[in-house]
């Protein structure tokens, strides 16, 4: 981390309440160009609520989400994506009846702008399929390119999530628990894929798997009961007493 890095995402004073409960409680968060920023927190800390606001799926009650200099708070989800903010979903969300290649080709097509072309055959359009295939290679699932998404393993579908997010050529990648439900072997593979991306991509990573977080993240923010209680590098977070008591548990020295 050096101070010359630009802030790509600047969240200030973001609030979201469900009834009387603050799911997002005056959160301030900034993501710097080129970093892998991990967002961690115990179950129910409001991580998914936060990322949903950062991708336009939920509207915040108040606060700002400045992305590349523009305040995006309150805009619809597709505007976030068009602005260059792609997300993957914690619960796998792909086009199950399409093949992996078609899934990513659709993402490539979405990124190419409008799709008001009614006559030309897009299913054999190499300007869509070739980049799509490359993203499948990047995420290690090219071998299953022609299998329907419903028929591949959970791990491969998680990789597909990442491939689709990448295909929109985002300037910020929001990954919502990419390792969710994976075995150790699959997680290891995913960490490797994400390590290859770090450096070329700015990533905001929400993850439970501490091995993954410590292996990947440049900076870590900790969310507890909707509040951001700390941001810092790995050592700072591990040494932070608030984090220890709130998240890692009193007796943990991990």
């Amino acid at each position: 981390m050096n101070s010359s890095q630009q802030t790509i995402l600047d969240v200030t004073d973001l609030c979201k309440r469900f009834g009387g409960v603050f799911a997002t409680d005056h959160v301030n968060l900034s993501v710097l160009q080129g970093e892998v920023h991990a967002l961690i927190g115990p179950n129910g800390a409001g991580k998914t609520t936060l990322i949903s606001q950062l991708s336009g799926v939920l509207k915040p009650d108040s606060g700002k989400i400045v992305f590349n200099g523009k305040n995006m708070a309150g805009k619809p989800a597709h505007s976030f994506a068009r602005a260059g903010l792609a997300r993957s979903f914690q619960i796998t969300s792909v086009f199950t009846e399409m093949t992996l290649l078609q899934n990513v080709a659709l993402a490539v097509q979405a990124n190419a702008g409008h799709a008001f072309s009614f006559w030309r055959d897009a299913t054999t359009d190499n300007s869509l399929l070739e980049p799509a295939y490359e993203y499948l290679q990047t995420t290690g699932i090219a071998a299953s390119a022609n299998k329907p998404a419903a028929k591949v393993s959970h791990g491969e579908r998680r990789q597909l999530e990442v491939a689709m997010a990448l295909a929109t050529e985002p300037s910020l990648l929001l990954l919502d628990e990419p390792m969710a439900g994976m075995g150790p072997e699959e997680s290891g593979l995913m960490i490797e894929i994400l390590q290859n991306l770090s450096g070329s991509k700015t990533i905001l990573l929400i993850e439970h798997d501490m091995d993954a977080v410590f292996a990947l993240a440049d900076r870590i923010s900790v969310l507890v009961y909707g509040k951001l209680i700390a941001t810092g590098n790995k050592q700072e977070i591990q040494a932070n007493p608030d984090v220890k008591s709130a998240y890692l548990g009193e007796d943990t020295d991990a």
Binding site: S55, P76, H78, A81, T96, A110, D121, A122, L129, T168
Partner: protein, 333 residues
């Protein structure tokens, strides 16, 4: 990059041949029956082809778009009245601006008014999903139904007889064989249009929205616009089917746009196989032919008809076309 995994040649799938044979049979059998002295069957097939065309239009939004529109008979009605009303005024005066026998004007009116109605009602309906979408499209359909009932000038409830068919240069729709040919070629054209649309970027976006709307949005797609355009295209084509239906029956009434008619169109799509190009054609064929055959056996034909339809939906997952598309995997087992 050349190592893209390529799809197998489509013409080797049995579905391709079954579809081709079905379309060839539709081209050959009805004219042969007519020439060999069975004009009644040509009528049955003309109706079949027109409804297949309407169901194909519905399939674009229902099958490929995943949006269950329960008001599509309204477009059939609008299209038919776009023939009936100009012809009525040509014969009995009034409304000089639209009074005409000109078929091209009729088509223009049928398609234009249907597209406009689809745009207005779609813009509202598409803000809802699921059951609400079904109910609101049905409500808009019924709105047109009652609007026509209220038009006493044009017969209201009792309907309107089209005394003169749409006129075109060189051909006469009064000749049943010509009318059938026009309907059949129209069906082929619409199938081609829907085929191209479903494989285009637009069509893939539409199918993506059917599969997973949230995901489409997170890819940066505003699904609403695409669905609305698909809805308008579907309505416009259905309006054209109405133009054909008016010229075929030469008697039109609000009954043809009743919600039960919308239900029949929906049924043809689902029975034949939603999201399969020729599904609605199979659906319409089975629906019309079965209705005809059972009618000859018993006046209580609705009962066995209903039972057969229920069974077919239960046992043909993905409709008839879905069953055909699984032929290969069946053969390999």
């Amino acid at each position: 990059m050349t190592n893209l995994p390529l799809k197998k040649n489509i013409s080797r799938h049995p579905a391709f041949w079954i579809n081709t044979i079905a379309l060839v049979l539709l081209a050959v059998v009805p004219p042969v029956l007519f020439i060999s002295g069975q004009p009644f069957w040509l009528d049955v097939f003309t109706r079949l082809v027109i409804l297949a065309l309407a169901a194909t239009a519905l399939n674009l939004i229902l099958g490929f778009g995943g949006l269950v529109s329960f008001g599509h008979a309204a477009y059939l009605g609008l299209g038919a009245y776009a023939v009936g009303i100009p012809v009525y005024h040509s014969l009995y005066g009034g409304m000089d601006s639209i009074a005409s026998f000109n078929g091209f004007l009729h088509i223009g009116l049928a398609v234009g008014i249907s597209a406009l109605f689809a745009l207005l009602t779609g813009a509202i309906s598409l803000r809802t999903r699921g059951v609400n979408f079904i109910m609101i499209t049905m409500a808009f359909g019924q709105m047109i139904f009652y609007a026509i009932v209220a038009l006493e000038n044009y017969g209201g409830d009792d309907g309107l007889t089209i005394d003169v068919r749409s006129e075109f240069p060189l051909i006469s729709l009064d000749n049943p064989l010509t009318l059938y040919t026009v309907c059949y070629l129209s069906l082929l054209l619409v199938l081609l249009i829907v085929y191209r649309i479903t494989r285009s970027r637009f069509g893939l976006t539409l199918q993506g929205a059917r599969s997973n709307e949230q995901r489409m949005r997170s890819l940066g797609i505003n699904c609403y616009r695409y669905q609305l355009i698909a809805f308008v295209i579907s309505g416009a084509i259905c309006g054209y089917a109405g133009f054909l239906l008016g010229n075929f029956t030469t008697f039109i009434s609000p009954e043809m746009m009743d919600w039960t008619r919308s239900g029949e169109l929906m049924f043809m799509v689902i029975l034949g196989g939603a999201a399969f190009l020729l599904g609605p054609v199979f659906g319409a064929a089975v629906f019309i032919l079965l209705e005809q055959l059972l009618r000859e056996v018993t006046i209580h034909w609705h009962l066995p008809f209903g039972i057969l339809l229920i069974l077919s939906v239960l046992f043909f997952n993905g409709g008839l076309a879905g069953a055909v598309s699984r032929l290969r995997s069946f053969k390999n087992q």
